[in-house]
Every structure is written in structure tokens, then in C-alpha cells.
Amino acid sequence: MAELTDYLKGFAVTFKKLFEERVTKEYRGGMAKPGQPDEKRPKVERLHGRHVLNRYEDGMEKCIGCELCAGVCPAKCIHVRGADNDPDNPTSPGERFGYVYEINYLRCIHCDLCVEACPTQAITESKLFEFSFTNRNDAIYTRDELLVGDDGKPQKLPWEDWREGEDELTSGWMRATSPSGDHRYEGVVQWSEELGYGVRAPELGQSAETADADADAGTSGGGDA
């Protein structure tokens, strides 16, 4: 008898689902006709998406062509060649700059090791992953495409589906864990300013969450001080 009621419980579950909210969103990749819904699901702040090459506030490029990102890349998808700066009209502060910078997005696994390796925070990842191409050559992003524009925001290439607000946070993961994910550096600013944003504030991270929880619960302890 219990078996039978268990069966009925199962039927009740599926019937209740009829009236629940749908979890799927209607995404049309920016190709929606007028009146059609075209939503993206909200993304987490530190999503690893398409890379950007950052600039300093004076417009100078951060990349120094050191090839550390190319060396650390497990998918071998980054190709960098440095060149000496023209002393009269330098591209980046210092001696050298990234002359060739290419990322092959057919290979990239978005692991963010290049972001960790970069000594000047030149390369970070935006929150965009809605980009597709129809041939292999388009999959290779060059320096011209990766560099942020004059307003410090990523370039919106024709085959990419940018939405409102998605170009704001291009360095979430770096700011949360740098350097090397060591918690002792949490909240310590270890990065240079960015074009259009200045020096970005650090993320508060886990200790902030513990502090909040402590305040809410009215007890102390928990988390590493």
C-alpha cells in the first residue's frame, strides 16, 4: 500500500511542476525580431569570458610583450611577440610592448592562467562568452580586436553579443584573488589603474562574507582571521 501512495506522490510532484516558474530563458543571440524575448541568464561576477588587453589611464598599453601568458597557457592558444618601443612615440611605458598578440578561441579553455601570470595586469577576462564565428581565421583574435577602446571598455565586435552592463567588469577574478590566490593579500590593492576606471577597488571576498554572517548571527568565530 505504501508503494502505491509513493507512486501517487510522484504524480503529484510532476503535476505541481506545471504551475512553477520556468527555469529556461529565451535566448536568441541578439537575433530576435521586434517583440520577441531575448534574455541572457545572469552571470557570476568573475566569469571567465573573452579576454581584453587593458590600458593605463593615459592610454598606454599595459602589455610589455614578456610572453609569460603564452608560456603558462595549457592550451597553447596565445601567440605573443614583443618589440622595442619607439622612444619618441612609445606604445607602452618601458622598453618593450606586445607587437603581436593573438588568442585562438578554438583552443582557449578560459582557465585564466594567463591572467594570473601577467605581471602588469595587461590581460584580463570579460564576462562575454556569446561570440561565434563561421571560419577558423575569425576565431583568432588579434591585438587590434582584444585591446580596450578609448573609453576603456572592450570593443564590441560585430559577431559578439554584448548586453547592457556586461562590459563594466573586465577584471573580476583578478581583483578577487591576486596575487596567486593568497588569502593574506585579500583586500590589498596589487594592481595598476585602468583606462576609464582608475584604480579599481578590491573585492571583499570570503572574509567579508564571514564578517556579515557573524554580524547577522551575533556570534564570533568561524573563518580564518
Binding site: 507512486y7 510522484g10 504524480f11 510532484v13 510532476t14 503535476f15 511542476k17 506545471l18 512553477e20 516558474e21 520556468r22 527555469v23 529556461t24 529565451e26
Partner: protein, 426 residues
């Protein structure tokens, strides 16, 4: 015996009668195709609702044309015939399962006003001819349904066999074993209905279920008159007969790729798909006719006519189509031995015993037994049934114990590596 009870053929048979019959055939044909299209859409939409998804919503309003788009796509895909297949049988099999699916619906009454009491219940007038809203009403009625559902097994069986490939063959062997086993339970519950209605003709079955029953408001439907058990058995056995979840072992993806239609592609696959969903509609319609009074129902609206029957018929049919989707969304697939256990050890004994009870009550009523005698019969029969069930369970248990002991013995023997043998893993 008359050739047919349809009033169309009573007086004369000429060209205009042929036209009326052809009209009905074409109507039912078109109706079935459209209904299958909507049924597949309905299934996908409801099942996605039950899984918190949106489901198909691009082709047409609410995605209602999704089946049409699928059909067009399948039509233009490449048609493959495997090299090892038996070409003629391979090509014939889809039609063997499709044609019975079409034919069964011919005996289903789908409308007509059954609230009249002047002997013309369910009769409509088409082109000046009195006729029934049903393509044919053969005196053998429900037996035709059994015959056609048995014929449909050939389509599945031959499709698997002719593919010349192992998974389709396994799928079709399963299918035929399953359909043959469940047909027994199906037939026994139909026998209960036939016993109560006293007729095989579908139209007369509906007639027998019209009118007010107990208390004036509970309908005198067979689901109540036969005591609910045959209805449950028929629903379960019918679902199994359709190879519908949770009885879809025939096309268990995890085990058999696609089952009997693994090697089928393009329009031939579409025909199997069409047949499957058409059988669902037909099975729903048969259940409605057998147990729920078919198109008969109270007249709720002031302007009355044949369409009241159509309204009731489709309302009842929708309940079952929804129930099939509900089953699909809720129950996991049975294992093969569970399937056979349910069919042979539960459904067949249950429907057989219930049939005997009904037969006993019927006999008693015919001979004018008093209520005390009927009660005594019921109690006596209950005791006999309990005894039989007990004996059956004892037999099953001792068989199981013997089987386990044998297995244990085999393992013990195999554990020691024999000469040239491989040790049995413990």
C-alpha cells in the same frame, strides 16, 4: 444478422451512400493526421511544463507547428537502407505499423446526440442520409481493435528483423514479447466490458452506457458497472501495448540505441513516429468508448445537436492524452523482468478473477438469485481467490528459493578454478 447496423445501409446502397462513406473516411484520415500533429506538440509542451522548461515555442504560435517542421525536415533527410537489411520487408514494415493505426480509428464513434430516446441515438444526417458518426460499425466491433493491435506487432517485429542489425532485433523481440503478454490482460478486461454491455459493436456499447445511472447523476458508464478493476487493467495494459513510458523498453535508449527503428531514417522513421502517436490517440479513444461512454454525455447547452457528442468525446479523450504525458513525465522505465512480472503475475490473474466475478454476478442475476445468495457467492469467490493468490505466491517464493540455492551452488562450484577454467570472482 444484418450486414451492418449503420442506418446508412438499411434501405438501399448506391452512389450517394458511397460518397457519404468516402466523406467520412477522408474526414477521419485528415482528423487523425492533424490530431497526431497536435498530440506530439501537446506532449512536448506539457512534458516541458512538468520539467520547468518552456518547450517548443518557435514554429507558429506557442510552437504549435513544431511537428510540421519536424515532418518537413524528416521528409528531406537522406533515406538510408542498411546493406544487410532485407530490403522488401524493411520498406514494408513502417506501413505495417501505420495502416493498423489508421484502421482502428474507423470503429470509434466520435459524435452524435445520444440524449434522444427515440431509437435514433447518435444518428446524424449527412447529405440527406441518416448515418452514424463513425466510419464503420462492424458487428465484431471491439474484436477488430484486438485484431489490428495484433497486426501492428508485425510492423515492429519485421522492422527489427529486417534491419539486419542486433539492437533493432533485440528491440523488436522485446516488443513482440511485451505486446503478446499484455494483450492477454487487455483482452480479459475487454471481455468484462463485453459481458456487461452484452454487445461487441462499439455503437451499441455507447448506447448501453447512455442514460442516467445510480441516483440519477452518476453516469451508467462501464467504468462503474464493471467495478473499476477492468478499467485500471486496461489502462496499464493499453499503455504497455503502446510501448509508451514506463513500458518503453522497446526503444530503451540506454540499452538499445533506438530499439526497433534504430536503422530507420527519413520518412520511414517519421511513419513509425506517426504510428506511435496515432496509436496513443486511438487507445485513448478506445478507452473512452469502452469505459467512459464515448460521445454520450449530458446536454449542457441549449442548442443541441451532433456536436455535443463530439464535445464530450474530445473532452474525455484529452483527459487520457494528458494522462499518457503525465505517465511519461513521472515514471521511470520498468526493467524487463518487472515488466513480465506485472503482466503475467498481476494483471492477467487479476483481470481473469474479476471477469469470473462479473460472470458469476451476471449468471446470478439471470437466474434470479436473491441478494443473500449473491453475497454468499461473492464471499465464497473471495475466499477462493485469496486461496489461489496464496498458492501462487507460495509457488513463486519456493521457485525463487530454489533458484537462489542453485545459483549459490553454481558459484560455490565455480569458485575453485577447474582445469582450464577461470576462477569465478567472489
Amino acid at each position: 444478422m444484418t450486414f451492418a447496423v449503420d442506418p446508412l445501409f438499411v434501405d438501399s446502397f448506391g452512389l450517394s451512400e458511397v460518397v457519404v462513406v468516402l466523406l467520412k473516411v477522408v474526414l477521419v484520415f485528415v482528423f487523425l493526421l492533424v490530431a497526431v500533429m497536435l498530440n506530439i506538440w501537446f506532449m512536448r509542451k506539457v512534458i516541458s511544463d512538468m520539467q520547468n522548461r518552456i518547450g517548443p515555442n518557435l514554429a507558429g504560435p506557442w510552437g504549435i507547428l513544431v511537428t510540421l517542421a519536424d515532418g518537413i525536415k524528416l521528409f528531406f533527410k537522406e533515406d538510408l537502407i542498411p546493406e544487410k537489411s532485407h530490403r522488401f520487408v524493411f520498406k514494408m514494415a513502417p506501413y505495417l505499423s501505420l495502416i493498423p493505426a489508421f484502421l482502428v480509428f474507423a470503429i470509434v464513434p466520435i459524435g452524435g446526440d445520444f440524449n434522444r430516446a427515440d431509437g435514433s441515438e447518435g444518428v446524424v444526417t449527412i447529405l440527406g442520409h441518416d448515418t452514424l458518426l463513425q466510419v464503420a460499425d462492424p458487428p465484431v466491433g471491439i474484436l477488430f481493435f484486438l485484431a489490428m493491435s495484433s497486426l501492428a506487432i508485425y510492423g515492429v517485429m519485421l522492422a527489427g528483423w529486417a534491419s539486419g542489425s542486433k539492437y533493432p532485433l533485440l528491440g523488436s523481440v522485446r516488443a513482440s514479447a511485451q505486446m503478446v503478454s499484455y494483450e492477454a490482460a487487455l483482452g480479459l478486461s475487454i471481455a468484462s466490458v463485453v459481458l456487461i454491455s452484452g454487445t461487441l459493436s462499439m455503437h451499441e456499447m455507447v448506447l448501453a452506457q447512455t442514460g442516467a445511472g445510480f441516483g440519477g447523476f452518476i453516469p451508467s458508464w462501464n467504468i462503474i458497472l464493471t467495478g473499476f478493476i477492468p478499467f485500471v487493467v486496461f489502462l496499464i495494459a493499453g499503455t504497455a501495448e503502446l510501448n509508451h513510458p514506463p513500458f518503453d523498453l522497446v526503444e530503451a535508449e540506454q540499452e538499445l540505441v533506438g530499439g526497433f527503428h534504430t536503422e530507420y531514417s527519413s520518412i520511414r522513421f517519421a511513419l513509425f513516429y506517426l504510428a506511435e502517436f496515432m496509436n496513443q490517440i486511438t487507445m485513448g479513444a478506445i478507452i473512452v468508448t469502452l469505459f467512459l461512454g464515448g460521445p454520450a454525455g449530458p446536454a449542457l447547452f441549449v442548442p443541441q445537436g451532433w456536436w455535443i457528442g463530439v464535445f464530450w468525446f474530445f473532452l474525455k479523450l484529452m483527459v487520457f492524452l494528458f494522462a499518457f504525458v503525465w505517465l511519461r513525465a513521472t515514471l521511470p522505465r520498468l526493467r524487463y523482468d518487472q515488466l513480465m512480472d506485472l503482466g503475467w503475475k498481476v494483471l492477467i490473474p487479476l483481470s481473469l478473477a474479476w471477469f469470473l466475478v462479473l460472470a458469476g454476478i451476471r449468471t446470478g442475476r439471470d437466474r434470479g438469485w436473491s441478494s443473500v445468495e449473491v453475497g454468499a457467492f461473492a464471499v465464497g469467490f473471495g475466499v477462493v481467490c485469496m486461496l489461489c493468490a496464496g498458492l501462487l505466491m507460495m509457488a513463486l517464493r519456493s521457485a525463487r528459493i530454489a533458484r537462489l540455492a542453485e545459483l549459490e551452488e553454481d558459484r560455490a562450484g565455480l569458485h575453485e578454478p577447474t582445469e582450464g577454467g577461470v576462477p569465478w570472482p567472489n
